[in-house]
């Protein structure tokens, strides 16, 4: 308990530097107060709009492409009759979840290497020009999303697979007797059966929207791709920790905005969840 106190509550005292002009020589308490200046700097600067857009866009990408895939995967798997086939595909699909993000990003960067990466070797074999995709800002979001899909689709399906396994067999039989084919079974029995699980997962996703996988982004982005890759949390990292002249106060101010918005999103999603699915996600 003390650990939590020291490492999560003590930093909360440090939030005050968001309202100060922090200087490492003076320490937290002796640095001068500057009111809301740090917040003004951020909101009136060009970074705010860019970071917000990128945070939202990366979420939209992973929501549109990444969210339905585990569901589809679980549905397909549910139709498989061979136990051993099902088991092996499941086990294989969980693998990337256990591989560290550094390794996954390492794989992506080496595959996309302009000289020796497989992608460009293939391109040149097909007579196409070699492209360094990781320096092209228009490619950042697709690459990030694909990576995310590869890593988490299999494991993300776990929850749906278990929801499907709890499905009511009698309903299927009734549907078959009524002459319902696979498609009818899917629409009338399977989907309604897992609808509440889907809802809860969606709400959880929205609650965690602002916390995009910044670890992966920091590993994957480059100055050339900042225009589409730089999100709020990577900006906090870069201004505060990842630079030679850290602007602690500005970074802390942005961090505070981030935490507050995140808290609001969590509370909002919990409210929605309570209202529509009668389960509290908190």
């Amino acid at each position: 308990m003390k650990i939590i106190l020291v490492f999560t509550y003590l930093p909360m005292g440090g939030i005050v530097i968001a309202f100060k002009e922090f200087s490492p020589f003076k320490g937290i308490w002796d640095s001068p107060w500057v009111g809301l200046k740090n917040f003004e700097t951020y909101f009136s600067g060009t970074y705010f709009i860019r970071n917000l857009t990128n945070t939202l866009m990366i979420n939209v990408y992973s929501l549109v492409f990444g969210f339905p895939l585990p569901i589809i995967f679980a549905l397909l798997l549910n139709e498989v009759r061979s136990k051993s086939f099902k088991k092996s595909i499941q086990t294989i699909s969980y693998m990337p979840h256990f591989i560290s993000i550094v390794v996954v990003v390492g794989m992506v960067t080496t595959f996309l290497n302009p000289e020796s990466g497989i992608i460009n070797i293939l391109r040149s074999a097909l007579g196409m020009e070699k492209v360094y995709f990781l320096t092209k800002s228009e490619w950042f979001r697709p690459i990030y999303t694909l990576m995310y899909i590869w890593k988490e689709t299999g494991f993300g399906a776990v929850i749906y697979i278990s929801a499907l396994a709890g499905g009511n067999q009698e309903l299927y039989e009734a549907c078959v007797i009524d002459g319902g084919g696979k498609w009818r079974q899917l629409l009338n029995v399977t989907l309604p059966g897992i609808a509440s699980t889907i809802m809860v997962m969606l709400i959880l996703r929205i609650g965690g929207m602002i916390e995009v996988g910044y670890e992966a982004i920091i590993l994957l982005y480059q100055p050339a791709t900042y225009p589409t890759a730089d999100v709020i949390s990577t900006f906090i990292y870069r201004t505060g920790l990842g630079s030679a002249q850290p602007k602690y106060s500005l970074s802390a101010a942005v961090g505070l905005v981030n935490s507050v918005v995140s808290l609001m999103l969590v509370l909002f999603s919990n409210y929605i969840s309570k209202k529509y699915t009668e389960t509290s996600v908190l």
Partner: protein, 292 residues
């Protein structure tokens, strides 16, 4: 067995095909990395490596394993995983035990304080400055203890502990047992599956941890594998002119296959272990969802 209609047969065929393709797309990148790491550099650069190693050689591994850095990094990762997981699970078990007792004074308040950390963080900078003020920058202590608990896991464990039958505990107390005895002889044995699950959660998290170790540790000899790997990848995948000017150059010849060897070495322990521990993770996800 109900006879399948033609439509069902066609559906089953497509279903198996799609799933097979999906499975292949998951495995292929990993196989490719392994094959590339065992291939001759020439063959690799010419794009001859497709599925199996060409011109089989161990030179990439030889090169890599001769470097002491990778061994130190491995040792560090093992150290952080071992001690970190031990610290994490002990704190979680004690914390969850205390919180599962209704006689704990101020239980509601402590619970709220705990939950609150899940919803609100001070942020990166205050956390960093806090570590700094505590004098823990660049120390192993910070890595082992600052990330010791996950609120979520404590709550998970608390839920498990709270369903342990009261009668068992009461009987033990009548026999004169104290809290430690009750915890170690009753709660821990009964909740072993849950504790195993959470221990594995912590261990895999520790093994794969990157961001904060990267930020907090500046000495090379304290760095874990993930951080060293990232550094090596940056150096190795830099363009040629850049590599020559870099002082940290690892490899001049055949760096392409060495990159893959590094990736394989870093991922290997997890690839070997995961089939055996996956069922715990699945259980953890499901319990979390029911609670959640």
């Amino acid at each position: 067995m109900i006879k399948q209609t033609n439509g069902e047969k066609i559906f089953a065929f497509f279903n198996y095909t799609i799933l097979l393709l999906f499975g292949l797309s998951i495995v292929y990148p990993v196989i490719y990395c392994i094959s590339a790491s065992f291939s001759g550099v020439e063959a690799f650069i010419n794009g001859e490596v497709v599925l199996f190693p060409k011109h089989f050689t161990l030179s990439a591994y030889q090169y890599l394993l001769e470097d002491t850095k990778i061994w130190i990094a491995y040792g560090n990762t093992v150290f952080y995983t071992l001690f970190g997981t031990t610290a994490s699970i002990s704190i979680s078990v004690f914390g969850a035990y205390a919180l599962s007792k209704t006689r704990l004074r101020g239980r509601k308040f402590i619970n709220f304080m705990l939950m609150f950390t899940m919803w609100f963080h001070a942020g990166m900078i205050p956390f960093y400055l806090n570590i700094k003020e505590l004098g823990l920058l660049n120390t192993r202590t910070a890595i082992v203890f600052a990330f010791a608990c996950s609120t979520f896991n404590i709550i998970l464990l608390r839920t498990y502990f709270s369903v342990v039958p009261k009668e068992l505990e009461e009987a033990a107390i009548v026999d004169g047992a104290n809290d430690l005895y009750v915890l170690f002889k009753i709660f821990i044995p009964i909740s072993m599956p849950a504790i195993a699950t959470i221990t594995l959660f912590y261990a895999v998290g520790r093994w794969n941890a990157y961001f904060w170790t990267m930020v907090l540790i500046t000495d090379d000899y304290k760095m874990p594998l993930q951080v060293v790997l990232k550094k090596m990848l940056t150096v190795l995948s830099a363009t040629d002119e850049f590599t020559q000017t870099s002082s940290d150059t690892f490899i001049s010849y055949g760096k392409e296959t060495v990159i893959y060897a590094t990736i394989v070495i870093a991922a290997l322990p997890m690839l070997i272990v995961y089939p055996f521990i996956q069922k715990f993770f699945i259980k953890g996800v499901m319990v979390g969802a029911i609670k959640g």
